[in-house]
Every structure is written in C-alpha cells, then in structure tokens.
C-alpha cells in the first residue's frame, strides 16, 4: 500500500535511488542506453547540427540489416550458443534475392517468403545437427557458414545482380520523413514482448541459465534449441533480403562481417552469455549504437581501418566487464 502511495505522489528522490540501485545491480542491462546517449552527445559535439530527423531516419535504414541479424544471434546467445552461419545465410539470401526476384508485386512477396523459408530450413538444419549429435554450436555453424557461403558464391561469383526496382523502391521510400524500416522496428519490439511471455520464451531463458535444470523440469530442450536456430536463420534471411533492397545489389561476401557485428550488438545490448540474461529490445539499441559508433569514427576523421579495431575492442571490453562483474557478484554471494 505504501509503495502505491509513493508511486502516485511520484517521489523523485526515491525513484532516482531505485533507478541507481537497479543500474548498479544490472549494469549490463543499462549500458546500451548509456552508450546511446554518450554516442549521440559525442556526435553532436564533433559535428554540430548533424543530428536531425532525416539523418536519424537514414541511420535506422542503415542499421536495419544489423538489427535484424542481431535479433537471431541474441536469441541463440541467450541459450549459451553462437550462430556463425548467420553470415552465410545473409550472403545466400542476399545473392538469391538479388538475382531471381521478379519485378511484380506477387513475385516480390513470393521471393521474400521463399527467402524466409530458406532461412528457416537452414536454421533447422543447424539446430538438428547440434541437438541430434550434441555438438558444439560454433563448430557446426562454422561448417554450415562455409557451405552457405560456397552456395552464394556459386550463384553469384562477384558483386552484382539485378535487383527488382519495384522492391528496392518500395523499401527505400519515405512516408513523410519516415522510412519503411521505422515501421519494422515496432513489429520487432512487439514480437519480443510477446515471445518472452510464451512458454517458448521462458524455456529459452531456462536453458540459458541451466540446461540440465531446464531438462529436469520438463522442457523439451532439443525442440526449443531447434526452434531458436530456426528463428536465427529466419532473421538472418530477413537481414539478407533487406540488404538487397538497401544496397540494391547482391554480394557473395556481404555477410562475412556480420559474425562479429551481431555478437558485438548482442553483447552491447546486454545479452550476457554467462548468466543467460538479456532482452532483444536492448539488442536493437545495441545494434543502433554500433552503427552510430562507426559514424562517430568517420566524423572524427579516423580512417575506416580503425573501425574494426574499435569494434573488436568494444566487444571484448564489454564482455570482460560483464563477466568480471558476474564473477565478483558470485564471490560476494558466496561470502555472505
């Protein structure tokens, strides 16, 4: 009762204190928002007047491939797995949709659906081998990465392809100043809000915390894993298909950078592999921050060579801090 009363009168001090306690305990969960603000402030200092509605819309367009791909990676990482084949699936769907999409409305929709199906099948293939043969995810997905990459290279030996103008024009059009990708974001947010409340969503978290315990409490671990890899494949396929519209060309090596980028976005967004915590909403923020950091470096006049260095360093620093904090927390809990 008291709490409710407090809430109604909105005690600033108490709210602030609650917030501080929360952020101290869940540093990894607050980090993406802090980083977002810091990066935006830095950009407006380095390049005053750069931030505008139009600029942000362009950025969301640019970050969409990464956001979609990181959604799948985050789901997998929540279960203490990794999916390297995301890179291969992006390459494959990117090349296929750039090559074979007919320039009719039904053709476009059909191709997108076919690509999604392809991604799901590829993901199920990963998941089947991982669960049936009880193998390390990274080794299986490393192998399938090579397979999908090879197939992409077979269809399209070098960058190019003729993208259906209807498709890329539709995806790149502006409604007012809002790009189409802005309408994808709420869909993604709604999806995760719904998914995490389902049995499936809860099972993902359970497996991430403790696989044996999840199995013992009656969760069909293999089935959940299979579904998660299928989801990961689906999101990678969406990312690849979106890239076709965004770049308006296909590339058999487009996805290779996304192994690191998706892991980095997921980790920046607070997906904690060791403790199985995290949320896909924050992954979106993480992916967006990663995109902005690249721009910040360009604004600062650093050559693109440094981007990969900074991305790698960011990944390691964030993961190291998170797992270091986890270790400390565990130690403290044991001592008390």
């Amino acid at each position: 009762m008291e709490k409710q009363a407090e809430k109604r009168s909105f005690d600033v001090k108490a709210t602030l204190q609650n917030g501080l306690t929360y952020s101290r305990k869940n540093f990894d969960q607050v980090l993406p928002f802090i980083l977002l603000v810091v990066v935006l402030v830095l950009i407006s200092i380095v390049q005053p007047g750069a931030i505008s509605g139009k600029w942000l819309a362009n950025k969301i367009d640019g970050a969409m491939v990464l956001i979609l791909a990181s959604m799948g990676q985050s789901l997998v990482m929540l279960m203490y797995g990794t999916d390297l084949s995301i890179a291969g699936i992006i390459c494959l769907t990117n090349t296929l949709s750039a090559l074979f999409m007919p320039n009719t409305p039904f053709g476009v929709i059909g191709t997108i659906l076919a690509m999604c199906l392809l991604g799901v099948v590829a993901g199920i293939f990963n998941g089947f081998i991982i669960t049936r043969f009880k193998m390390q995810p990274f080794i299986v997905t490393l192998a399938t990465w090579s397979i999908f990459d090879g197939l992409a290279l077979y269809f399209l030996p070098r960058d190019g392809g003729n993208v259906a103008p209807l498709y890329s024009n539709f995806m790149m059009q502006r409604i007012g100043i809002l790009p189409i990708s802005v309408f994808i974001l709420p869909l993604l947010i709604l999806m995760w809000s719904w998914l995490k409340r389902t049995r499936f969503g809860v099972a993902i978290f359970a497996i991430g915390r403790n696989e044996t315990a999840a199995h013992n409490s009656g969760i069909n671990v293999n089935m959940v894993k299979l579904k998660v890899y299928a989801f990961s494949g689906l999101f990678a396929a969406l990312a690849g298909t979106y890239r076709t519209a965004y770049v308006a060309s296909g590339s058999p090596t487009a996805g290779d950078g996304y192994v690191l980028l998706t892991c980095c976005a997921a980790v920046l967004g607070g997906i904690n592999v060791a403790s199985g915590r995290g949320s896909l909403h924050r992954t979106i923020v993480g992916a967006f921050v990663l995109q902005l950091i690249t721009d910040l470096l360009v604004f600062c006049g650093l050559s693109t060579y440094w981007t990969s260095l900074i991305q790698g360093a960011l990944l390691i620093i964030v993961v190291a801090t998170n797992s270091g904090l986890d270790l400390l927390r565990k130690k403290r809990n044991l001592e008390v």
């Binding site: 043969f133 090879g150 892991c263 390691i316």
Partner: protein
C-alpha cells in the same frame, strides 16, 4: 598382439584418417599420374607442414574444449611484422633470427591475452578470440596503411625455407621435429596429462589439484605461438607476406583437428590425428584444383567434410562409450 589391438581400438579414428588419406592419394594418382610424382608430393608436404604447424594451437585449444578464431590474423601479424621490421630496421643476413623471436613473442602475448579472458574472466572462447582477431586485424591494417602492405622475406630465410636437405624439404624436417616434440609433450609430460584432464572435466581436474585456469591460459598461449610460427613458415615458403594471408587457414585449422578425430568437446584426440587430418585436407586441396573444381564448390565441400568429420567422431565416441 593384444597390445596392438588395444592401441588400434583406442585410436581407430586416427588410423581411419590415415587410411582415407592413402585411399584418396591412390585414387587421384590413378586418374592423374603426375599427382604421384616426387616433386608434387614434396610440394604437398610443404603445404602440409604450414597447415600442420598452425593446427598445433587449434589442437591444444580444442583439447581443453575451447576454440581459437584468432589464428588467421595472428599468422598474418607475425608474417607482416617479420618482413616490415626487417626492412625498417635495416637488418642483414642472419640477424633475422632475433626478429623471429620477437614475432613469436608478440603472437604468444596475443595468445596469453586470449587465455586471460577465457580462463580468468570466464568469457566465451569464441567471442574472446574472434574479438581479439578483429583487434589485431585493425592494428595490422592501420599500421600498414601508410606504406606498401607487406613485403619480401630476407633472402637467407627464403633460401632456407625452400631449400632441401638430403632431398627432403627443410620445412618438412622442421615439421617432423615439431610433431615429435608435440607428441611427447601431450603423451608423456605432466602438462599434457593436465590438458586432457581439463578437457575431460574441469571440475574433476580442479579437485585433483590441477590449476585449471593456468592450464587453459597456457593452451591459448601455445595457440598464439603456433599461429605466429605458421605465419613465419608461410612467409618463408612464398617469400613474402601480405594482408589477409591467413584467411583460408581459420577454417582449415579447425577442420584438420576435427578430421583427425579430436573430440570437439575436448579431452580426447592427439596431434598425430591432426597430422593425418592435415594430410587429408592437403590432398583434397590439390585434388580439387586438379579436377578444376570452382572455389564455390570447394567451400561447400569443406563445410560438408568438417560436418561429416565431427559427426563421425561423435558416433564413434558413443559406440566406445557403450562398450566400456
């Protein structure tokens, strides 16, 4: 006889790897007689020496149940550093020996950092090593961006690497020495025993008094060392170093360990198996180029090969587990 049989059942996957290598070799030689000439075998063995050296690190790391994805740019770092510093410092003749030590020290340090993150900070090995890979890639590319990326190996070093002793390539001799050292290290020393103990069960190893974290860190350090050494051998073989020279080797180094019958969850397998896997992959490489298979299908075949190898090892382990 009993003993031989026991050794065979224990290492059946390794024997299997060598049999496949032999069968493949005979198969190709029938269709392409020039495949079996002494000159071509020599070339293949030199390639195998480089890949085999790189795979040392991967063997150690996979034996403790991890993975090292930083091998490709570790290799590139040592190669590029070697040729660039040789030119920049104006060294002559055999002074490059010191440079070799320096390059190996740098890559070993990178391996140590990997190990620190994985063992002491409890980070996922894939994230740690792939992040590290990107970092050293960034450093190397940024440092070389000013001038010509790469350069040529010192003449004396190049002559040694392509030279032969008693008609056997020097690199192959180096590799034979390495095989002997690594096999003894894994099978006959406390350190090797501890590697297997940690790979089988970290908890059990910990309670048996093994310093698990230290062993893990050392395994990654060895991987860094092997990556550097492989890069130097590669530089010597082709006489120059260039950016991205390690890129094909990440996948191949993992694949040969898997083909050699080392379990991906750690704890079983050895370097002799990796050597067998290396031979298979090298023969497959030249087989694919002999039959003019395009790069795209090569990638697909490699992927299927890796998957098949891992699955075979798994099913064999299950069978043995049931017998025991």
């Amino acid at each position: 006889m009993e003993k031989i049989k026991r050794i065979y059942t224990k290492n059946s996957s390794i024997v299997f790897a060598y049999i496949i290598a032999a069968v493949m070799f005979i198969f190709v030689s029938v269709f392409r007689p020039e495949f079996a000439t002494f000159g071509h075998v020599k070339v293949m063995l030199i390639d195998a020496a480089i890949l085999g050296t790189l795979a040392i690190g991967q063997t150690f790391v996979i034996l403790i149940g991890g993975i090292d994805l930083s091998i490709q740019w570790n290799m590139c770092t040592s190669g590029i550093m070697f040729v660039m510093l040789y030119k920049a410092w104006g060294l002559t003749g055999w002074q490059f020996m010191w440079l070799i030590l320096l390059c190996l020290a740098v890559t070993t340090a990178v391996g140590f950092l990997n190990g620190l993150g994985v063992a002491y900070l409890n980070m996922h090995p894939m994230i740690m090593t792939y992040g590290m890979n990107t970092i050293i890639q960034g450093v190397v590319v940024a440092v070389t961006s000013k001038g010509f990326p790469g350069g040529f190996a010192p003449d004396e070093y190049y002559d040694f690497c392509v030279g032969t002793t008693l008609n056997i390539p020097n690199l192959v001799l180096v590799w034979l020495v390495i095989i002997a050292i690594i096999s003894i290290l894994l099978a006959r020393t406390p350190f090797g025993r501890k590697i297997y103990a940690v790979g089988n069960s970290e908890t059990v190893a910990y309670f048996s008094g093994v310093k698990v974290k230290r062993i893990k860190m050392l395994a990654y350090a060895i991987s860094g060392f092997a990556g550097g050494l492989g890069g130097l051998l590669f530089t010597g073989r082709i006489g120059q170093a260039y950016l991205g020279m390690g890129d094909p080797y990440l996948f191949q180094s993992v694949a040969v360990v898997a083909i050699g019958g080392t379990s991906m969850v750690g704890g079983s397998g050895n370097y002799i198996g990796t050597v067998g896997g290396t031979l298979i992959l090298i023969i497959l490489n030249s087989l694919l180029s002999a039959f003019l298979i395009p790069a795209s299908w090569q990638k697909v075949i490699y992927g299927i090969l890796l998957l098949g190898a891992v699955m075979l090892t798994y099913s064999r382990n299950i069978k043995q587990g049931r017998k025991a």
